[in-house]
Amino acid sequence: MIAYRFKNLMKEVWRWRVSYLLLSPFFILFALFIVIPTVTSTALSFTYYNILQPPHWVGWQNFKTLLVDDEIFITSLMNTLYFALITGPVGYVLAFLFAWLIHQIPKRFRTFYTTIFYVPSLTSGVAMAVVWLVLFANDSYGYLNSFLIQAGVIDEPIQWLQNIKYIMPVIIIISLWMSLGTGFLAFLAGFETINTELYDAGKVDGIRSRFQELWYITIPAMKPQMLFGAILSVVGSFKVGEISKAVAGFPSPLYAGHTVVLHLQDYAVLRYEMGYAAAISVVLFILIYGIGKLCFAVFSSKGE
């Protein structure tokens, strides 16, 4: 029976051989650089591995150390959560709101506004540091400080990139500035695809304002795009690190800008404690995947 099934399956596989052939180039690279690294990371997280000697098994030791003894990791986790819980939802809502507002204006102006809001996400966070370091500079030569002093808001310069109170907010502001990316475009395009008859029907049913229209018609119709945008938003906000390094330095003052990705880099690239670093990556992976799954649950379009 099983042999018969297997034979049938093989027949099917052979019948579709061209499909597999077309898929294979992408899939081989996908396996090499996404699947295998993810599996390897998980395996290495249970070992002690320093690149020079072969890894040896230590069981849950890395995770124990990480979650119990490593205070800096807890700091980095808190910073990352703080960052993600603000940047993720706020960036997401902003992307949706701006896309919706742009959709309200006549077609011939849309291109211009779309470009203006999207361009920041095309910039390189690391390269733009040259701007941020001058804008947020700690002394009165900093443009923001200079502006605030002249406006009479503050008397002496604020140490934007030194004072631990301000480091994370500055990183959040910079990231929000760059956050109108792929999700924003997906929303814009999503609005274009909504069947206009729905709106006419809505008017007949007593929808009076743009906001009612948005809430009762547009958002339910946009669920698939909104899920896509949410996933990108989650991943983007949990992998924060590069911008922090570029503007607050590495390590940042009192680890105020330390994130999970930076903690990972610290152990992998500087200390060569690969097993421990792998454990950090597994924690991050579980976080992203868990919250991603949550998004799927929220947006799963049942009853459509």
């Binding site: 399956l9 596989v13 579709w16 061209v18 499909s19 597999y20 077309l22 898929l23 180039p25 992408f26 690279l29 090499l32 650089f33 996404i34 699947v35 690294p37 390897t40 290495l44 742009i102 309200q104 204006i105 102006f109 291109t111 506004y113 470009t115 203006i116 809001f117 095309l122 910039t123 390189s124 690391v126 390269a127 040259v130 370091l133 030569y141 443009y143 002249q150 792929t182 475009l185 395009a189 999503g190 695809t193 007949v204 669920k223 996933i231 949990f238 992998k239 690190g241 570029a246 990705v261 990972l264 690969m274 670093a277 792998a278 990556s281 992976f285 992203i288 995947y289 799927f296 379009s301």
Partner: protein
């Protein structure tokens, strides 16, 4: 009839929407205006107190400094630039090609394992390369690619978002086209090249923009997979010099300006096709 009642109110609120978008748009543009302004500032304007936002006497001095300073070091700036162009160009080309090849069967065929493979791609939308740097490093060194252009190109080719968008776009193409092709006796191979590829051309533009932006701005791959300075790319160079403080702000702004222009230009060029592709970007669970 109902439309008429809306009309007056609509124009009123439209005016406010445009005003609001313009105001915020200006605010969003500030850092970029500042970047361009700084790139063209003469050195005396970089250090005046109180600092001035806009450039008064624009000059190309910063760009000259940048190229001269680099020529004085071991590696001229043009080398980083060349590496960036080469790596981004090849990566974008193959990302589009591999994605096109893979999206056709994934969308139009019913082979065993199809759903599992697509499910895996959906899950990998949550993948962040930063999270698995070490194993990626191990894979690259195991394949013996360390310090080669391949090391900068191949890992970026596994670009699930690109394949996902192409496949979603392909789903919109009616199956009848391919049915008709089969009846006419065309092989899958012919249909792939003659029908599928031309039909998903609008999706290419989107993948070009996303892939190009990702690779062009990527400093991490250079740091991780290459050791020798002549293999590094422009963003990597920028990530190493930005810490040098205000003294080089002018030259660094010039370099960042050079880095930013291509991505913006590509987006403006391809914008129209992008929105038509993105319309199908939804994930239907």
């Amino acid at each position: 009839m109902l439309k008429k009642r809306f009309k007056f109110k609509k124009d009123y609120s439209l005016f406010f929407i445009i005003l609001f978008l313009s105001g915020l748009g200006l605010f969003m543009m500030l850092p970029l205006v500042f970047l361009v302004s700084t790139a063209f500032k003469p050195s005396e304007e970089l250090f005046i107190y109180p600092p001035r936002f806009f450039v008064e006497n624009p000059t190309l001095q910063n760009f000259k400094d940048l190229f001269l300073a680099m020529a004085g070091d071991q590696i001229p700036l043009s080398r980083y630039f060349f590496n960036s162009l080469l790596v981004s160009g090849i990566t974008v080309f193959f990302t589009v090609l591999l994605g096109s090849l893979a999206c056709y069967p994934l969308s139009k065929h019913k082979f065993p394992g199809k759903d599992q493979i697509f499910g895996l791609i959906i899950v990998s939308l949550m993948f962040a390369p930063e999270v698995v740097e070490i194993p990626r490093y191990l894979v690259v060194s195991y394949l013996g690619l360390m310090d080669t252009y391949s090391a900068l190109i191949l890992p970026s080719l596994a670009f699930p978002i690109g394949l996902f968008l192409m496949k979603q776009f392909m789903d919109q193409v009616p199956d009848e086209i391919f049915e008709a092709g089969r009846i006419d006796g065309a092989s899958e191979w012919t249909m792939m090249w003659r029908l599928a590829l031309p039909l998903i051309r609008p999706a290419w533009a989107t993948v070009v923009i996303l892939a190009f932006t990702a690779v062009w701005n990527d400093a991490g791959s250079s740091a991780l997979f290459t050791q020798s300075e002549e293999m590094k790319t422009l963003p990597y160079y920028l990530s190493t010099v930005n810490g040098q403080g205000v003294a080089r702000a002018g030259a660094n702004a010039a370099a960042t300006f050079i880095l930013t222009v291509p991505t913006v230009l590509i987006f403006i060029l391809f914008q129209r096709q992008v929105l038509s592709t993105m319309a199908h970007s939804g994930i239907k669970s």
